[in-house]
Amino acid sequence: MTCEELIAHLSSYIDHEMDAALVAEVQEHIAHCRNCRVVLDTTRRLIVLVHDEGQRVIPADQRSALFERLHQAFLKRPQASNESAV
């Protein structure tokens, strides 16, 4: 397996979407190629790093102005149709 082939398969390897024969080839290559080892390791670290970003909130200093605009827009919203039907 060449470095280019390894890079092409990198995400399949990380995500365990690869058949066993190919996994063995990747591991064989990684054992001998420092560059590909670094790319694999840093890509994995990237994925770990962003994983918790989903729960990230906006900075406090932006929050109150945003909230104020949002609340005003909310108060001015058109009435929901189910309320007028009552």
């Binding site: 280019e4 890079i7 092409a8 990198l10 995400s11 399949s12 995500d15 979407e17 560059n35 670094v38 790319v39 390791d41 840093t42 890509t43 670290r45 990237l46 994925i47 770990v48 790093l49 962003v50 994983h51 918790d52 970003e53 989903g54 729960q55 990230r56 909130v57 906006i58 929050r63 945003l66 909230f67 605009r69 949002l70 609340h71 827009a73 909310f74 108060l75 919203r77 929901a80 189910n82």
Partner: protein, 200 residues
């Protein structure tokens, strides 16, 4: 004249807030907004890459949520429910906004310039680094430079944690297209973050 001040901590927990929303307490929607707007906004800006558009999605999300409370079954938690509404609204907005997509952005092979160039290892511990606000900013900025076709897949798969199948369904793409775009997004972000890691 400023409006009356709203007491935003009148509900002890999420269940009390939900009960208030169901009773249609006058201030309950304001409390919902206060509690969850930052989370929803962060998701919208990641998907759209534009602060003004993200704010529009934020408004639509809460207006929709407060109008549709009767259909909320309470199984997933208010935060996840709002997150899902925001994601759907943002994706709908993206579909309407982007008639001209750059073909290179949606190519189903790695582009020449996406091959790794920076080959220094990262010494930091990702678990500890997740708390570093400077790194977070670098990451959000790097994310914003990705072409939309790659960014959206990365946000849904690696940040939001959807499966390949769920992401494909949400975007109306084939699973192989999702995989290739995710891979291209990862390579680009790895490169961008490596530049930062090298200097720190």
């Amino acid at each position: 004249m400023p409006g009356p001040t709203i007491e935003l901590t009148i509900y002890e927990n999420e269940e009390a807030l939900l009960a208030g929303l169901r009773r249609r307490d006058p201030d309950s929607c304001a409390c919902l907004i206060k509690r969850f707007a930052p989370l929803v906004y962060a998701q919208a800006i990641r998907l759209l890459g534009d602060a003004d558009e993200a704010e529009g999605i934020l408004q639509q999300t809460f207006i929709k949520a407060c109008d549709k409370l009767d259909t909320y079954e309470g199984r997933s938690g208010l935060g996840s429910w709002l997150y899902r509404i925001a994601t759907n609204e943002a994706l709908m907005h993206l579909r309407q906004r982007s008639p001209h997509v750059n073909l290179a952005d949606v190519a189903e092979t790695i582009q020449e310039d996406e091959m790794p160039h920076r080959l220094t290892s990262w010494t930091f511990d990702p678990a500890a680094a997740a708390l570093n606000s400077e790194l977070r900013m670098v990451l959000e900025q790097a994310l914003a430079t990705l072409p939309e076709a790659l960014r959206v897949v990365f946000v849904l798969r690696d940040i939001q944690g959807l499966s390949t199948e769920e992401t494909a369904a949400a975007l109306g793409l084939g699973e192989s297209a999702v995989k290739v775009r995710l891979h291209r997004a990862r390579l680009r972000l790895r490169e961008l973050l490596s530049a930062y890691m090298q200097e720190h």
